[in-house]
Amino acid sequence: MKLIDKTIVAKKMPIRLVRNTILKGLFFLATTFGLLVLGILLYRIFAQGIGYLDWDFFQNFASRRPEEAGIKAALIGSIWLMIVVAPVALLLGLGTAIYLEEYAKKNWFTSFIKLNISNLAGVPSIIFGLLGLTIFVRALALDRSVLAAGLTMSLLVLPVIIVAAQEAIRSVPRELREASYGMGATKWQTIVRVVLPAAIPGILTGSILALSRAVGETAPLVVVGIPMFIAFLPKNVFDTFTVLPMQIYNWTSRPQEEFQSVAAAGILVLLFLLIFMNSIAVFIRNKFQKRY
């Protein structure tokens, strides 16, 4: 007894294949779309900014004269910001993710933390700015320092890192943990030696996205009140500083046409910084990537 009508199957085959081909094309187009936009964006910025991108641009502080304006304080400031954000956010994020995935019992408190984190991930950055201003700048009297801004940004990107790390930790096969426990390894040893190394690619993906965000954010720092003009470099995390997007924001709002080009040059620097960060992470990711 044959229930499947093979003629129907045969008849449907061509249309299914066509559908597959068409959608594959559409998926491809969608992918190119993103790249195309990036291309246009980069082209415009490049064309406008490349003329200002010389060695002096990196050597000089901000200036009222477009030819003399430089990115030094902002670039170094952004790096300082990352020096605070990366370890703080990564440590807190990983710690939380490990706690949630490995230690936390299934109870209302744990689900409350989880809910809380996914909600925090959606809280607009500008609200973190208000938080940073109230808690770090004012209450803890950190002023408009690298530390105050860095902590604000850490909290901002924390949820992204937590969620990515959780996802990565969860996807480490159970068999690997069992193997480790089976050798008498403690939970912590298992986490450090087996789970985390296997989860690194995933954790990195999330962290890149998070750090890129921290580097490119303007709104919360505007609210925190990071100054614009700085003609010196911070010596430690308690010094005041400025960052690339703030500097760019400022240049774009200048009346002089030349500053638009200076801004474009600044954007180029920021993009190069992002590309640099991403390539480090991609390198590590590819190096560690294992398929089980």
Partner: protein, 300 residues
């Protein structure tokens, strides 16, 4: 007290010669005033590289917020301090001195293709910009003008520029509801360039930089149409649309921190020249002298 006085005197004279000063100066406030203060800070730090001057960009209101909290030494403002802010400052025992830095001339601007608007009177301006519940056409202002709908571009309602316009032109009546508002004057420039029936206003510097692609409208305040130019603004002939820009200094900072005192002096001496350079109009020299006097008072 006597000893410290003499120490200060010797220091302030030394600042112009050899002994370098140290310390920090925190400045924040109006984004309109920012370019002037940036220029001053830049020049000052060329002379005193060990003084760390930081200039913020938080807007007049935001600047005062920090000034009230005692976080800044100077607060830039594109309007005089408000009563609420004064109350707060008194509450926090922060005495301050108001210093004028420069003028900004608000420019009324239309699209380059607009060939019929030759000038506007202050009354016409008000008629144009006040909300009256109707769709506005050019022909509503002068019958010979085309019957086309006007597009309005205005700085954001929270800017000093808007505030000033509101006060002197609108006289606190509501602005046309369908006006397009933006915080960023460059953004307004873009709008006016693209829109044939557009009219808008913003700081003089933004017009000066875009003279080729925009058309400025002379204003008649009863004494004939006056176009905003460097001279007409400085002389006060371009009225009523030029406004002063300020910075507020905490008296205590000047008294306690020698680098602040030194900076403020430097600022008053150079504000005229430097504000011209970044696109504003300098005050009369007498005004700066008055400022200088006030500062010297504080140091005592």
């Amino acid at each position: 007290a006597c000893g410290s006085d003499s120490a200060k005197d010797s220091n302030s004279s030394a600042s112009e010669t050899d002994k370098p000063l140290q310390g920090e100066i925190a400045i924040d406030g109006s984004s309109t005033v920012y370019p002037i203060m940036e220029a001053i800070a830049e020049e000052y730090m060329a002379q005193q590289p060990d003084v760390k001057v930081s200039v913020g960009f938080s807007g007049t209101g935001g600047g005062f917020e920090k000034f009230i909290a005692g976080e800044t030494d100077l607060s830039n403002a594109s309007r005089p301090v408000k009563d609420e802010e004064k109350t707060q400052l008194e509450k926090n025992k922060i005495d301050f001195t108001e210093l004028e830095l420069a003028y900004d001339g608000l420019s009324i601007v239309v699209n380059k293709e607009n060939d019929f608007v030759d000038y506007l009177t202050v009354d016409e301006l008000k008629k144009l910009w006040v909300e009256d519940g109707k769709v506005k056409k050019w022909s509503d202002i002068r019958p010979e003008w085309p019957k086309e709908e006007i597009k309005f571009y205005s700085p954001g309602t929270d800017s000093g520029t808007y505030d000033y316009f509101n006060e002197v032109i609108l006289e606190e009546e509501p602005l046309v509801e369908n006006a397009t508002l933006s915080e960023d004057d460059n953004v307004l420039v873009q709008g006016l360039k693209g829109d044939k029936n557009a009219i808008g206003f913003f700081g003089y510097a933004y017009y000066a930089e875009n003279q080729d692609s925009l058309k400025v409208v002379p204003i008649d305040n009863g004494n004939g149409a006056v176009e905003p130019t460097h001279e007409t603004i400085k002389s006060g002939e371009y009225a009523p649309l030029s406004r002063p820009l300020f910075t507020y200094v905490a008296n205590k900072s000047v008294a306690d921190k020698e680098q602040v005192a030194d900076f403020v002096e430097f600022m008053v001496e150079n504000a005229g020249e430097l504000s011209e350079e970044v696109g504003y109009i300098s005050l009369d020299d007498k005004e700066y002298d008055k400022d200088l006097e006030a500062v010297t008072q504080l140091k005592k």
